[in-house]
């Protein structure tokens, strides 16, 4: 299996190098954990949806953190190409911060792009929409700053700033989120926890180049490719 994978990775690298798009992939060994995402942690999103969340099928607003899983296979390094699934014209591009667990705890952070197939139903787990191959480009990990509450994350598409989002929008800020998640599960060294996503995240179609930046963080880039191209 590993021989085949490395052959395949090498071939992909050669092909994409010819068209000027070097690929770095999570399976190179930089990431071996599980990534957990946090949904419905944007104050304005939950306020806007409050009437819907009091009706069926939800019946009550969310109480505990609403988490989802992006398995390690979703994770790709900065510069990666994310393929549009067949039949999908544009992907949700949610720039966020990933808390990175190390042997000494949640001591590191990275920029991350939580890629999704746009969906507005939160009733059932959105595995098909959230957990596809390559749907979590991440930047390099740096030490976690003491306070992330005012961090602004900027998303550019093809060089134009299309979205700005501050972690001051989080319902559960970083320390609260860590504590509320720890009440029922223990992230392990290697695991990541995405702190939340903006309700008004942009979308991007084939060929678009994404760049995500935030003060003090190494910038993160990714490109969206047509179905079957570069996946």
């Amino acid at each position: 299996m590993f021989d085949h994978l490395s052959e395949l990775a090498g071939l992909t690298f050669i092909v994409l190098s010819i068209i000027g798009e070097p690929v770095k992939h999570g399976k190179d060994g930089m990431f071996a954990g599980t990534a957990y995402g946090t949904a419905l942690n944007d104050r304005r999103q939950v306020a806007a949806l409050d009437p819907a969340f009091r009706a069926a099928p939800y019946k009550a607003p969310p109480q505990a953190p609403v988490l989802y899983i992006k398995p390690g296979h979703c994770v790709v390094a900065g510069g990666a190409v994310v393929a549009l699934p067949a039949g999908c014209d544009a992907l949700g591009i949610a720039a966020t911060v990933a808390l990175q667990w190390t042997v000494t705890g949640a001591t590191a952070v990275r920029l991350a792009i939580d890629v999704s197939i746009p969906h507005d139903n939160f009733y059932r787990p959105a595995v098909a929409e959230l957990a596809r191959d390559g749907f979590l480009p991440v930047g390099a990990a740096i030490p976690r700053p003491a306070d992330l509450d005012a961090l602004e994350i900027v998303t550019e598409i093809d060089g134009e700033t299309v979205h700005r989002w501050s972690l001051s929008n989080l319902i559960r800020n970083v320390p609260t989120l860590i504590a509320d998640v720890a009440a029922f599960m223990t992230p392990m060294p290697g695991d990541m926890l995405l702190v939340g996503t903006a309700f008004d995240r942009p979308t991007a179609g084939a060929g678009r180049r994404i760049r995500v930046s935030a003060r003090g963080f190494p910038a993160l880039e990714a490109r969206i490719a047509a179905a079957g191209d570069g996946a």
């Binding site: 599980t34 505990a64 098909a128 599960m185």
Partner: protein, 250 residues
């Protein structure tokens, strides 16, 4: 052939269970008595763990749901797993924690856009899981949510992975759960709404399945709550008998 993952002489190892079940033969040449082995869940590190909700019509009816029109898939993290002989923790503020005996299919080769007719060939082996749920924590967001299904040590899994070739037809196996010797679940994998081959076809259309990935295929009817000190056994005919204890969380 039954493949066991364990800790021996200070490191994680895999071994093969002897024909009489008494010992595990390690690649290093050592033999370890099965009853004394420090078992781990027989999981490939980094593998994805898929689980199915409402995949037996009788269990769906019991919970007041219609069987879904597409597989209700959710994911689990490795923090949730605990080995045969281990302990599942019942939260102190919840009483409605119930065991769910499940057949687990373990992928044996890379699968992408696999046709249902070919899909069983992509299964390398099978094991058994007890996919507990804690009903007090159910909320209607990404249900079943992680607080219900992804608590630490909430999912006993094992004792081993048995080769698919040794199991025969995976859709004709009896499953059962006992609590302190009393049967609380009894069913047949023949009653899955989405059989294993269809689940593999469905999942492999969404993402690339890799060797080691596991699919917990859902549970038949029978909702019984566990208490501190209970001895629970989940058994799937021809695959294995998975035993564990329940204790109150510290």
């Amino acid at each position: 052939m039954k493949h066991v993952r364990l800790v021996h002489a200070g490191r994680e190892q895999w071994g093969v269970l002897s024909a009489d079940g008494a010992s595990v033969h390690l690649a290093s040449g050592h033999d370890v008595a099965f009853d004394e082995a420090v078992l781990l869940p027989p999981v490939t590190p980094g593998a994805r763990i898929f689980a199915l909700g409402l995949n037996y019509a009788d269990h769906s009816a019991e919970l007041g749901f219609k069987a879904p029109d597409k597989p209700l898939v959710f994911l689990k993290g490795p923090n949730s797993l605990v080995a045969h002989g281990g302990t599942a923790w019942r939260p102190r503020d919840a009483e409605q924690m119930h065991p769910e005996c499940e057949l687990v299919a373990v992928i044996g080769q890379t699968a992408r856009n696999v046709a249902e007719d070919d899909a069983l060939a992509f299964v390398g082996g099978y094991t058994v899981a007890c996919d507990y749920a804690v009903r007090e924590y159910l909320e209607n967001y990404y249900r079943p949510n992680l607080r219900v299904k992804n608590r630490d040590a909430l999912t006993p899994l094992g004792p081993w992975v048995v080769n698919a070739a040794d199991v025969g037809d995976p859709q004709a196996l009896r499953l059962s759960t006992t609590i302190n010797g009393t049967e609380v679940q009894s069913g047949s994998t023949a009653d899955m709404v989405f059989p294993i081959a269809r689940l593999i076809a469905y999942l492999s259309a969404i993402m690339t399945l890799e060797p080691g990935d596991m699919i917990l295929t859902g549970t038949p009817h029978g909702v019984a709550f566990v208490n501190d000190g209970d001895a629970v056994v989940c058994e799937v005919e021809g695959v294995g008998r998975l035993a564990h204890r329940v204790e109150l969380a510290p």
